[in-house]
């Protein structure tokens, strides 16, 4: 979940009132946020945002807006949005999109900022917003990337097109000499980080002005000449490029609203495409495309379990910054310019809940009750556990994933039945365990310091390939136990098996076992109800050596699902 740093003074200034840290903690839940830390020397609050559907909250101004409105402060009105009904005048501020960029990175949104000089905390916020939105919401710049420029340094119209990777050269921000776009991917740190997004396309996204002056190589890096914004700059141009038009337009709206809240004037820019988009061939941004939504107040009452009046519901929504109207029992909302997370009327009902405050809902005992109980598998497992503990065994808990070394190589087996993970985090977690025995042996190999004898067990799941099953695999409940001691041998483990089956009231037979993990002639297959239900015996010296175990050891593994059958 995104974490942001906000300047305390600026934050409370935007909210319109100051809070102590405790007071802030109490009000942050309305934005699904938590106070993550405070730096009193620098005057910074660290806040974690937990709602992935509210990118508008991931900034100082955005979070302040929610808190301000929630606490009864002003609900902002923004006058710089065009829509399907009204296109605002963009003057000479135009972006022209060439046809050849459609295949690579088709969409761009832009607006200009003016009115006052940018100060240090606003610049920091802009950089932080760009980072958080493009990284989290924009999938590491893949679907959204943002660039900020000084508009005094270039001439409209801005041109967005696809450029030849080798013939196109410019001086990137942070570098001194001119490099081709392809070279920038190789040599610039941002190129190494984000270049992969476009490097396989025949041409790369490129933004220039009408005279060919370079603004940037999107989504990688701005030009050094126009793309360096500093404290004190007064006229800015912001563009966002990407692959998903609605989320791009929403992000542009979010950034514009934040700057407007901060006292800047937002100027529309008209984007002219050479091809059709879902919002037309000409879009003036910031653009309001969100559609209204309704919720039935009777349904809301039912879902919330609370007898709220329609007026109370409307107030609650207003507290969240949402404008409302009613038509009989129906509440109609106007989605705020900086949000697009209303997919179903339940989303309106959730905002009613948050606007009321979660503490306003009293817990109620359910009027219907059902009886819960432990599943038969769990009950059987617990009986087995009790018996083993009675026999002096220590219960262990192990991981379900392991390495080829542990599960296959050290065990002396071919491992054909093991489920292998295609994209493991590390080779330590490449295989799903098909047996508990390797886990037990691993335990022994790291427990030389524990006094002997060692008697350990685990009851847990194992899984392996099974061509007869629909899914191709089968998961079983398995019991594995292990003994290591100077005098440990077949007699001892056989005696434990005998006691376990006696107290579980299960009859069994033993037949000879040929298993590379065990010593032949000192191991057995357990047969129950005519089925193979398990194996036990002395662990083969080769396997013990593979694990670095020097104590004689026996072990047993039983399929509890089969043993549970009558």
């Amino acid at each position: 979940m995104p974490k942001i740093e906000v300047n305390r003074e600026k934050f409370y200034g935007l909210i319109g009132k100051s809070y102590t840290d405790d007071e802030l903690e109490a009000v942050l839940p309305c934005a699904k946020a938590e106070l993550d830390g405070v730096d009193n020397d620098e005057g910074i609050l660290k806040i974690e945002l937990n709602d992935t559907n509210r990118p508008d909250l991931w900034s100082t101004a955005g979070l302040a807006r929610q808190l301000r409105v929630y606490e009864g402060g002003s609900n902002p009105e923004y006058n710089f949005f065009s829509s399907s009904e009204e296109t605002l005048d963009s003057g000479e501020r135009i972006v022209k999109v060439a046809p050849d960029i459609k295949a690579t990175r088709p969409f761009i949104a832009a607006f200009a900022v003016t009115g006052k000089a940018i100060d240090d905390s606003t610049l920091k916020d802009l950089i932080q917003t760009q980072e958080k939105l493009c990284w989290n919401y924009g999938r590491k710049r893949k679907s959204i990337a943002m660039g900020v420029y000084r508009s005094d340094l270039f001439k409209y119209p801005v041109m967005y097109k696809a450029a030849d990777p080798d013939k196109t050269k410019f001086v990137a921000l942070g570098m001194e000499k001119e490099l081709s776009v392809r070279e920038i991917i190789k040599e610039h740190p941002k190129g190494q980080e984000f270049g992969h997004i476009v490097e396989n396309d025949p041409k790369y996204p490129f933004i220039t002005d009408v005279d060919g002056k370079v603004l940037s190589f999107s989504p990688v890096i701005n030009s050094s000449e126009i793309g360096a914004v500093e404290v004190g700059d007064e006229n800015l141009f912001i563009e966002l490029t990407g692959t998903d038009l609605p989320s791009l337009i929403l992000t542009a709206s979010i950034v514009a609203c934040d700057l407007a809240d901060d006292g800047f004037t937002i100027l529309p820019v008209r984007v002219e495409y050479s091809y059709e988009t879902e919002l037309g061939t000409s879009i003036t941004t910031p653009y309001y495309f969100q559609k209204g939504m309704t919720a039935d107040s009777k349904y809301a009452r039912k879902l919330l379990g609370s007898d709220l009046s329609t007026e109370q519901m409307k107030s609650a929504l207003n507290r969240m910054g949402i404008k409302t109207s009613t038509l009989g029992e129906e509440i109609r909302i106007e989605v705020p310019e900086y949000r697009n997370d209303f997919l179903h009327s339940v989303d309106i009902i959730e905002d009613i809940m948050m606007g009321r405050g979660m503490d306003s809902f009293d817990p109620v005992m359910p009027s219907d009750s059902t009886v819960g109980r432990i599943s038969p598998e769990e009950g059987f497992a617990r009986s087995a556990k009790d018996i083993l503990i009675g026999l002096g065994f220590q219960e262990m808990i192990y991981n379900y994933l392991g390495s080829r070394k542990d599960y296959i190589d050290k065990m002396n087996i071919t491992g054909d039945q093991l489920i292998q993970i295609v994209n493991p985090m590390t080779e330590n977690y490449e295989f799903v365990r098909a047996s508990i025995i390797p886990s037990l042996l691993n335990s022994e190999s790291v427990s030389g310091n524990a006094v002997y004898p060692h008697n350990i067990f685990e009851i847990g799941k194992v899984a392996f390939l099974d061509s007869e099953d629909n899914s191709g695999t089968v998961t079983k409940n398995s019991l594995g136990f292990f003994c290591a001691d100077r005098n440990e041998g077949y007699n001892q483990v056989s005696s434990s098996v005998s006691a376990l089956f006696y107290y579980l009231n299960k009859e069994y037979e033993l037949i000879e076992l040929d298993d590379p993990r065990f010593i032949k002639g000192r191991s057995a297959q357990i047969v129950y109800n005519g089925k193979n239900v398990g194996v036990f015996g002395e662990v083969s010296p080769q396997v013990l050596e593979n694990w670095g175990i020097q104590m004689p050891a026996t072990c047993c593994e039983i399929d509890l699902d089969i043993l549970m059958e009558d």
């Binding site: 938590e34 937990n50 879902l303 997919l343 179903h344 339940v346 959730e350 979660m358 220590q394 219960e395 262990m396 808990i397 192990y398 991981n399 886990s439 691993n442 335990s443 022994e444 790291v446 427990s447 310091n449 524990a450 060692h454 350990i456």
Partner: protein
Amino acid sequence: SIEVHIKHPVLGWFELGGSGIFRPEVTKAMGIDVPVLAWGLGIDRMALMHLGLNDLRELFTPNIENVRLRRSR
């Protein structure tokens, strides 16, 4: 949807579980037309507190001596 947090006298607030009502788009697709509630608690964290442990990995240690010495606080 709601997250459950508890306040530990030493560790402060931490998340214990999540819960909520399933979205109708999900349940209707499975032929269910009534509200469906769900919740889950993190047993691991409670176990850490109960056993006086700090690291989640200690809960799953293969070391027999460590497990033998484990007891509730």
